[in-house]
Symmetry: none
Subunit: 357 residues, 3 copies
């Protein structure tokens, strides 16, 4: 038995990963609170390292890098501040035949008084892609579980996310109303869009964008939509599950668009969609001699979409009432009702958890 425990410890040591970074002014909004997107990006970087390392751990394996396919719903419990240290711990927690789960825990440490607090937990799913032919998904080496229950619970999480991914609806169509001077607190008034051309640093570990880069851009747009609506500082409170359907390559143009769907007394729900456009298709060679050629014509597709929930903060950092969203079209009313249903469901869940605790 001792041997097994020792083995397990060794296993845990090699398979878990710890990352730390001091939060800098550029990681935060004007009120000094670190963007949820910064945490999402760190979590995903830890996840890609932990999962890639696991998938390459077998002797004689074919080289692979892992790509993010799904992030489960993530709640931000407490915002981090500039100067604090963010710690991310990530471990492989379940292995299926062709995908694996990484769980990550983020804590914020105030170096001056030594206080540490949990800021969020996340659960991510990756698939290992062959380095030689990135369209080929490789088998995942099985992990060693501490006990039967651990494996069984993982299997349930695996089945649940698999079902959810197969259900996944289409990307929302974002036809912006052509209003020049939209009325205050309407959807048209706060809708926002940014474009980002995928650069080399977005693709550090393999030839395609790390999922965390995309999530950070989405959080940025969600934040801008929310600030435009409530004219105060905001923080991201939670992000719904996201499925990443396709790899995004260097040179792809991402259009990240957000619009308000629902407001409660103290929260805003923003729907964010990422449309990808493979402008210039193929890039060959190294930094100084790269040539690009668009052989197949450009392709546009929806890469990912998600709901972000944000809250408004007063200047002393306390939650603040949110102006009610003015609905103008039938579509907006429909989306508002759907948002309300999601809001009530997650509220009920939170209360059930409190009750049981």
């Amino acid at each position: 038995m001792f041997t097994q425990v020792r083995l397990l410890r060794h296993k845990l040591h090699t398979m878990s990963l710890h990352m730390s970074r001091i939060m800098r002014p550029d990681d935060a909004n004007v009120a000094g609170r670190v963007h949820g997107g910064t945490a999402l990006r760190m979590i995903e970087e830890a996840g890609v390292i932990a999962s890639t390392r696991h998938c390459n751990s077998q002797p004689g394996h074919e080289n692979c890098v892992s790509a993010l396919v799904r992030v489960e719903r993530t709640d931000f419990l407490s915002p981090m501040l500039i100067g604090e240290v963010a710690h991310v711990s990530a471990s492989v927690t379940y292995t299926a035949h062709h995908s694996l789960e990484v769980q990550a825990v983020v804590t914020a440490e105030n170096l001056l008084n030594g206080n540490k607090r949990l800021t969020n937990k996340a659960s991510l799913w990756y698939v290992p892609l062959s380095v030689k032919s990135p369209d080929k998904v490789l088998p995942v080496p099985p992990m060693l579980y501490g006990c039967k229950e651990e494996e069984e619970e993982g299997r349930i999480r695996y089945e649940t996310q698999k079902h959810d991914r197969s259900q996944q609806q289409q990307c929302p169509s974002f036809i912006f109303s052509p209003t020049t001077d939209p009325e205050m607190h309407t959807v048209a008034c706060s809708q926002s869009s940014l474009i980002h051309l995928v650069g080399p640093s977005d693709c550090a570990i393999h030839g395609f964008v790390q999922g965390g880069v995309t999530m950070k851009l989405m959080d940025e747009v969600a934040g801008i939509v929310a600030v435009r609506h409530c004219k105060s500082n905001v923080v991201t409170a939670c992000v719904d599950a996201m499925n990443f359907h396709r790899k995004l390559k260097l040179g792809t143009l991402l259009s990240v668009t957000g619009r308000l769907t629902f407001t409660s007394q103290r929260s805003m729900e923003v729907e964010v969609a990422v449309e990808a456009d493979t402008l210039v298709d193929r890039v060959i060679g190294n930094g100084s001699t790269m040539v690009a050629e668009n052989t197949e014509g450009s392709q546009r597709f929806c890469a990912v979409s998600a709901y972000f929930t944000l809250i408004s903060l007063s200047s002393d950092g306390k939650p603040k009432p949110v102006p009610q969203l003015k609905l103008e079209t039938e579509d907006e009313k429909k989306r508002f009702e759907e948002g309300k249903a999601r809001y009530l469901q997650s509220k009920a869940k939170r209360e059930a958890q409190k009750g049981s605790a």
Copy 2:
């Protein structure tokens, strides 16, 4: 006389500034060519240092920081590549009562073969603002000229730009056509927009955005519009004169929008406008204790606009024909004719320069 020369040398030494930096993958497009915006940002950083230093050089002066108010037309003669070293030299070349001119020269150095080539020259105008009350423009200490002619030529440049700034037209109104599926090669098909929330690193030297940050964002949008139109790699060939009318503070939301106005056989002209929105107005304190309060309500205004000319490149880096722009509205036809006039004028000027050389 020797003494005067020595003094002058001393003067030139203290007033000129040299900056170098290795070009990184993130500075370049997918074909490895450094963005014009990277050069514009370096030039402006050198300009703000040289001009701020000059304005604080008088004993007993009131402390000031200089803010960019105008950049003259800039031609990019030769693109830089990743791994090359960019050198910027900037000197104060004319001083008026309340503004001063900085001229900058950019060269690219290939470390492997030692070749250096001129990539562009730029001329920038700054005004010194009081550190205590940033709305107050301070007097500029007079510079020492090498000879009478030098001063006289500077005075002519000063009068010319002053006239141009007073003529400056209003910002273009960018009402995007609400087309969902625009036809290829129309204005609607390539128009693009990005948003950027002004962060602390954009405002290092004073409380407001360095002009170079804004120019870099504009070049980024211009490049995306051009790639969307011609589906190949592009490089910035020149940027028209730009006037910066107002200071942009930390927390301001910039919407940078670009649309094609004109295409020739081998070039595209993109009009880029920056709209500023002071979402959250007042920021007090430093990075860790900043609080934000919107006391006056948000304000939207046009911060700057300019025409960027870009050329399309084939995979071997040679200029490539550009698809002709399809015009759909009367406005688009009018702008096309205006663009053509600018194109022919600048072509005539280039040929006159060749003839005289």
Copy 3:
């Protein structure tokens, strides 16, 4: 003789390099003091340019890029602040057969009052590697010295560092005590670790990490360890000599670990080690077509280690007493004694210099 002086001036002009940059909020800690690591990174960038330029200056040479192999002990005399301009001047000062020395001087300029002050000097050793086959070290073209003494002094520095490099002991073994709730002011209480995945921008000039990137990460960890121990702001006062044994490639995972070894009344010594893990071993080509080939299986090795000395600062920026380090193990006691010996030796040296000045 005049001709020789002129030649020398020309030589100095071509071989020296000047870099300037405004210090931004992200370069600094929460108290606005620029990290020693920012200066180290700028110095090394200037060094790699100056040395690569020199090694390619011979007609008919084989193309090479230089890689950092050693940095001599560096003292930080005065911290820089946000908004100040950092100037780095670097020149080649000695050439051996297969390595060369670059000396760099860093000054900080306050643009408002024109004051300039020396912040540090550094001495770096590089080897030229062939661009075609990066494992091949090329010969260094000899430099022209001003006088015999200059050459002789350089030769002594060369011999000294060569001896030191041959002596270099193994990387420290960092077995972190598995204590969950360590006692205040123990080594276990402040030990820290961060990981960094080497991205394209870390490797601009050749396929491997610029030494300055690694040094900046090490300084960051040293700072975190020190703040955790003394619960106040800190600045880096000096860094011991470092030897870089192996090239670190794109895609390598760096684990940077630091622990306190010694405290005096007013200073802390932190030992920092960088372990490299070639997750996916070989990366060829650019971002979008990178293929990675792990020919040898992943490898872990110690890339570099060094001692950083930091001092604690009170809120008004004055040095502050440091809590004494609590020693728990025999190893810790041994390292403390070694640290004390280094501290006393460097103190004696400083006093000898004062005495002779």
